[in-house]
Symmetry: C2
Subunit: 165 residues, 2 copies
């Protein structure tokens, strides 16, 4: 028994749960620096091609990240909520960002390794596995942050380096 | 021995090698649709804020994807090359894209499960693990494709849905 448990632990992993959360939190640090790089007013008002201002995209990311991981860890589903009072203050959004960082870390360690390939209907709405849901959270963040980079460039602001996490 | 091998196979995985390649190829299908959505000339010339046209970003993605996976599978390193003759024809780039799809699939199955956490210096230059390198390839694609979405919106073109793969 001890041998087979040891074998289990040593079996090759593409990525471990800890590897995945470190990867995501690295991305989240970069997204935080992109938020910081925005001029205060442009963050809430600047748009290109009829898209949302970057603040609205960030509120979507905040609506997904903490609540999504909490739902995966606890099994308690709640609808997606992208509306949190921020009074058009970047400082408030950065505060919410840091709270989400802690919330994600707190609930992440409650997710069992065998859960990642289990089916889930996240936010009572989106079907997939736990893993595909988490990858969607990360990919969606990278996608919108890439859009934020274009906003910054169009505003004449140098964005933080993509490869620095 | 048989039991412990069986255990190995059954040990929980965040994502399997096959799961990861399917995830990436799903993203690559979406990127292909974004290329298709661009008006021919804008694909090679349109820019915002002094950034590169989307065609140059796609040439970067092509320089990374096939050659990167080939290097991981074979252990033979070569420098990054983003310059392939395309004569400013979207059709040629889509052809290169499809060739890369096959090249990725061909070499992917030669990557051993135990390789993913091994160290590598990809393109003789970037240090990380095999897994972190592959995640970088995927994340970098999502990042630039997100920028392509802004270009499309600014051009008045509706981009393909992000969640369709």
């Amino acid at each position: 028994m001890e041998t087979s448990l040891k074998k289990d632990t040593e079996s090759p992993q593409v990525i471990t749960p800890t590897g995945l959360i470190n990867h995501w939190q690295g991305h989240r640090k970069l997204t935080r620096r992109v938020i910081e790089a925005f001029p205060e007013e442009a963050f809430f008002n600047y748009t290109i091609g009829g898209m949302r201002p970057f603040s609205d995209m960030v509120m979507e990311l905040l609506g997904i990240a903490g609540p999504g991981i909490k739902e995966i860890a606890t099994g308690v589903s709640s609808p997606l909520n992208e509306q949190v009072e921020h009074g058009n203050k970047k400082a408030k959004i950065l505060e919410l960002w840091d709270e989400a960082t802690d919330e994600i870390n707190t609930y992440w360690i409650q997710i069992k390794p065998e859960q990642f390939q289990k089916s889930i209907k996240i936010f009572g709405q989106y079907e997939g596995t736990v893993c595909s849901s988490i990858l969607y959270f990360i990919d969606n963040e990278i996608h919108h942050r890439g859009q934020g980079y274009v906003y910054l460039r169009a505003l004449g602001v140098e964005p933080p380096a993509f490869y620095e996490r």
